[in-house]
C-alpha cells in the first residue's frame, strides 16, 4: 500500500464527478469498536438489552460512526488533509447487518480570494434500499497544476 497514494488535482475534477464508493456491512462489533475508539459508551449502541428496553428493535450505530465512515470515503479521494469543511445531518438510524454505501458528488469548483482551489461536494451515506442515513456537504482544497 505504501507510496501508492495518488494525488487528486483541481483540474482533474469536474461538476458531477463521483468519488469511489465505499461499502461497509455494519456489525455489532463495529459499534463496540467505535465505542472504544471514541469513548462514546451510550448504551443503545452496544447493549441490546438496554436498547430493547427503550423500545428500539436492537442496538443501532453511532451517528458519528456514519459521519466517520463517510469522511473516510471523502478523504480517501481528496486527500487526508484536504478538507476545509464537512457538515452532515443525521437523517436516520443505522442497524446491524445493513450494507452502507457512500455517495460523494462534486457540486462545484471555485478559486477563492486567497487563490485556494476549492471543490464542493454533496455527500450521503445510504443503505442498499437507498434510505439516506447521513446527508451533508464537504469542501476540500486541492493542489493545482497551474
Amino acid at each position: 500500500m505504501m507510496g501508492t497514494l495518488s494525488v487528486l488535482y483541481f483540474e482533474d475534477v469536474k461538476e458531477g464527478d463521483e468519488a469511489p464508493v465505499k461499502k461497509h456491512r455494519l456489525t455489532r462489533t463495529d459499534m463496540v469498536r467505535y465505542a472504544g475508539a471514541s469513548g462514546d459508551y451510550m448504551p443503545m449502541h452496544h447493549d441490546e438489552v438496554f436498547a430493547k428496553s427503550i423500545g428500539q428493535p436492537s442496538v443501532f450505530g453511532h451517528g458519528m460512526f456514519s459521519m466517520g465512515l463517510l469522511g473516510a470515503a471523502i478523504t480517501d479521494w481528496v486527500g487526508k488533509t484536504a478538507l476545509t469543511r464537512y457538515k452532515v445531518r443525521f437523517a436516520s438510524q443505522t442497524w446491524p447487518d445493513e450494507e452502507l454505501r457512500t455517495q460523494v458528488t462534486v457540486t462545484g469548483k471555485t478559486v477563492d480570494e486567497g487563490r485556494r482551489h476549492l471543490v464542493n461536494m454533496e455527500c450521503k451515506l445510504l443503505n442498499s434500499e437507498g434510505d439516506v442515513k447521513v446527508v451533508g456537504e464537504a469542501q476540500a482544497v486541492l493542489p493545482s497544476r497551474s
Partner: protein, 170 residues
C-alpha cells in the same frame, strides 16, 4: 408567563454561555485506533513512513477525531486554570432529559482551518451558539447548538471549529 414562555426564556438565556475550556494532546495510538474505528484503512494513519510518502509532515487525524480527543488526550496536569464560569453540555442534556424524552444528534459540522497531526496540542473553548424550541408532529423539539473552537496551543493558530446541533424530542 406560561410554562412555554418560561421555557423559551430559559433557552434564550443559554445562548452565549461558556461550555468549557480544555487542552488536549493528540496521541498517535488513539489517532491510529480511531481511524480503524471508522473503517478507514489508509496506511497514513498507521505508519509515519506512509504519511511521509504521501507528502505529510506527520500522522494526520481523521476528520471526526475531535469527537474522541477529549476522551484520550485531556490530561489533568495540562488543563488551563482560567476556565470560564458556564454550563457543561452534559448539564444541558441532563436538564432536558429530566422531563423524559430522547436526545438526538441532529447535525454536526467541522471547519478545518489547518490540518492537525499526532503530537499536536490544542486548546479549545466552547459556548452555546443557539437554543430554540419547535413543535413538530406532536413532539416538542428543543434544539441546542454548541460550538468548540480549537487553537494550536504552541502557535495560537486557529485549527478546528466543531458545531453540534443536539435535539431533545419530547
Amino acid at each position: 408567563m406560561d410554562d412555554a414562555e418560561q421555557l423559551d426564556e430559559d433557552l434564550s438565556k443559554l445562548i452565549g454561555r461558556a461550555t468549557g475550556k480544555s487542552r488536549v494532546m493528540l496521541e498517535r495510538g488513539p489517532v491510529s485506533y480511531f481511524a480503524i474505528g471508522v473503517c478507514d484503512k489508509s496506511p497514513v494513519y498507521q505508519d509515519p513512513r506512509a504519511a511521509e510518502a504521501a507528502g505529510l509532515p506527520g500522522i494526520p487525524v481523521p476528520p471526526t477525531f475531535s469527537f474522541a480527543w477529549d476522551t484520550w488526550g485531556k490530561f489533568a496536569e495540562m488543563q488551563p486554570d482560567d476556565v470560564p464560569q458556564g454550563i457543561a453540555v452534559g448539564e444541558i442534556v441532563g436538564s432536558l432529559m429530566s422531563k423524559g424524552g430522547m436526545i438526538l444528534h441532529g447535525e454536526q459540522e467541522f471547519v478545518y482551518h489547518k490540518p492537525v497531526f499526532a503530537g499536536d496540542v490544542l486548546l479549545g473553548e466552547g459556548k452555546v451558539v443557539d437554543a430554540y424550541r419547535k413543535e413538530s408532529k406532536g413532539h416538542v423539539m428543543t434544539f441546542v447548538v454548541t460550538e468548540m473552537v480549537w487553537h494550536d496551543d504552541k502557535t495560537g493558530d486557529l485549527a478546528v471549529t466543531s458545531r453540534s446541533n443536539i435535539i431533545h424530542r419530547l
